[in-house]
């Protein structure tokens, strides 16, 4: 009995150490972003009221327009979400419910696409989208490579497969057309899946760096992740409190994603999703 209790305590200790390791940098980021003079010693991890300021936020906002960056990130993310939800649902439904030639091939493609390291395609995509289509510094160019998430297609298919087939057969016998079956029967039943995909797809484009970095040169078009990265790699050194300003920008960039995650964590952490991702 005593041993079992000891084991339990050890488990909680291990898990707590883990939680500290994962959460501390975020805590440190927030504390650091409000420090007038950065204190990198251990004492600096505890906020000192005399040393607190919002100056860092003003500093970073002077160098990169935070509101514009957030708006650009938002437009980029919204475009990806719309494409993924609208066309991902259609493809997932077709793959799960309907019988058409090439269905197996398309599903295999959806799986394959997830294995191909996307960034390896950056050179041809850059040539196509920036040079041939002339879509650099353009929201369309930013969105295009992520427009329909293959992971979402596979998740949608999985959800549609779980619906009882009798439902569809019954609706067809009642004379409902294909479109009607999709709109009135299937879609309402997969609403939780829609929510999951919207939330999970949000963090991809919101956090994406490489592609928008390649395709945007104008500061006014850059998502926040790109403008902050430019600040870190080029401008930071010329600021009075470079780390403070960097962390202030980091807080602004990460808060929308973290808050969204905290509020809706049950969608993120559901096991169904795991099976979809692993397709």
């Amino acid at each position: 009995m005593k041993r079992a209790l000891g084991g339990k305590v050890a488990q909680y200790i291990v898990l707590s150490i883990g939680a500290i390791v994962f959460l501390f940098p975020f805590y440190y980021m927030v504390v650091g972003s409000f420090q007038a003079v950065l204190n990198p010693t251990v004492a600096g991890a505890f906020p000192d009221p005399a040393n607190l300021t919002v100056e860092n936020y003003a500093d970073i906002n002077e160098r990169i327009n935070l509101i514009q960056g957030l708006a650009n990130s938002g437009i980029f993310t919204a475009g990806v979400l719309i494409g993924t939800v609208v066309f991902g649902v259609l493809a997932g439904y077709a793959l799960a419910i309907l019988h058409w030639r090439g269905r197996g091939t398309v599903f295999a493609l959806a799986l394959l696409v997830q294995v191909v390291p996307f960034q390896l395609l950056m050179i041809p995509l850059y040539v196509m989208i920036a040079r041939d289509f002339g879509l650099s510094d353009n929201y369309l160019g930013m969105i295009l490579p992520f427009f329909i998430s293959s992971t979402a297609v596979v998740i949608f298919r999985q959800y549609f497969l779980q619906l009882p087939r009798e439902l569809f057969d019954a609706a067809r016998i009642d004379g409902a057309g294909d479109l009607r079956v999709l709109w009135n029967i299937a879609l309402p039943l997969v609403r939780p899946a829609l929510m999951t995909v919207v939330l999970v797809s949000f963090i991809g484009p919101w956090n994406e760096f490489l592609w928008p970095f390649l395709i945007t040169k104008e500061a006014s078009m850059q998502p926040l992740a790109v403008s902050l990265a430019n600040f870190i790699s080029n401008i930071a050194a010329s600021t009075a409190n470079p780390f403070g300003a960097m962390m202030a920008g980091a807080v602004v960039l990460s808060i929308p994603a973290i808050v969204l995650f905290l509020v809706t964590q049950r969608y993120f952490l559901s096991n169904d999703l795991g099976s979809g991702v692993k397709g």
């Binding site: 251990v42 390291p117 040539v127 870190i232 397709g279």
Partner: protein, 328 residues
């Protein structure tokens, strides 16, 4: 861990599976309809619904893959949009140039270092934390959420705080005191890549903990019972039951880590100021960016990309072999 084969569960309504409807109609349908059906399948509406996705995959994946291979055999250069320029077929010249470039070899070695650190650390830590998480009753959600937070945060954002933590006078060196490495972590040729590997492990661990957590649900309880009946302890059970039980998940970690390593860009670009010191933390994708876009030599970048794709595919194929396709 349900891996569904493309057709198996849904094919109940296929051509032969449902003679009552599909087959009967087939026989009575007029010939042109029958021909159309043979061409497009039972329900051509599906083709219509999937068409946007198929076009998307064709434009954003299939065509670029063909294009990148073609480009790697050309002396390709950027031209003004719409300009019609002759480009020369150069055979394997780009590949020869790439393979003779020590920086390319170094970037692949760096990914090797990355994998050697990232994979064991990820497997051990996420399995350990998932096992502990699986058994506790209280505060499960809190722990799961806190492990997942780095995963949902932008690399660019957490890079900022890691730069500060691991800077020369940063908190990490302050705590280590005299043990602090000199030169400091990110500017030390031997430590830059390991620090990046540590960063990526930390950031992605939450995802793998969840993956292991769901894999642990599939390990049958009877196995644990039989180990304890044979007098085996907790540790024995862990190695005899848990570790083999989650093997498919472990192999998936290897595959995903390989893809992550192949994709590595943001971290060396920002943490070590573009793969420094002296290319000690450069990744192949970083090199592709520098050669292809900064220096305007896309055919060299394409050749690096093709080599990288081939390596990833080989590893993926080995993976598939080991997992054994259907089970898991």
């Amino acid at each position: 861990m349900t891996v569904t084969s493309p057709d198996a569960p849904s094919r109940t309504g296929g051509d032969s599976g449902r003679p009552g409807r599909g087959g009967g109609q087939e026989a009575s349908a007029p010939p042109e309809r029958r021909r159309r059906r043979r061409l497009l399948g039972e329900n051509p509406f599906g083709t219509l619904l999937a068409a946007p996705y198929v076009i998307f995959v064709a434009v954003v994946f299939a065509y670029p893959i063909v294009f990148v291979v073609w480009m790697s055999f050309q002396d390709y250069f950027f031209a003004a949009p719409g300009a019609d320029v002759e480009r020369e077929f150069v055979g394997f010249a780009n590949y020869v140039e790439v393979l003779q470039d020590p920086a390319v070899w170094q970037s692949f070695r760096n990914v090797g270092v990355f994998l050697v650190i990232n994979v064991p650390l990820t497997v051990v830590l996420s399995l350990l934390l998932a096992t502990a998480l699986n058994k506790i009753v209280h505060a499960r959600t809190f722990f799961r959420v806190s492990y997942y937070v780095p995963f949902v945060t932008a690399s660019v954002a957490v890079v900022a705080v890691w730069l500060f933590l691991f800077s020369k006078n940063g908190l990490v060196n302050n705590i280590l005191g005299p043990l602090a490495p000199d030169p400091s972590w990110l500017v030390n040729a031997n430590l830059a890549m390991p620090t990046i590997a540590l960063f990526v492990t930390w950031k992605g661990l939450g995802f793998y903990i969840l993956l292991y957590l769901s894999a642990l649900q599939n390990v049958p309880n009877e196995l644990y019972e039989s180990v304890s009946m044979d007098g085996g302890g907790k540790i024995r059970a862990f190695f005899a039951v848990t570790v083999p039980g989650v093997r498919p998940a472990t192999l998936l970690v290897l595959l995903l880590a390989t893809i992550t390593g192949a994709n590595l860009f943001t971290e060396p670009y920002l943490l070590t100021g573009g793969g420094g010191p002296n290319g000690a933390s450069a990744s192949p994708v970083l090199l592709m960016y520098q050669r292809g876009i900064e220096q305007g030599n896309p055919s060299i970048a394409a050749a690096i990309g093709v080599i990288l794709i081939i390596l990833v595919l080989i590893i993926a194929a080995i993976q598939r072999r080991l997992v054994g396709g259907e089970d898991s």
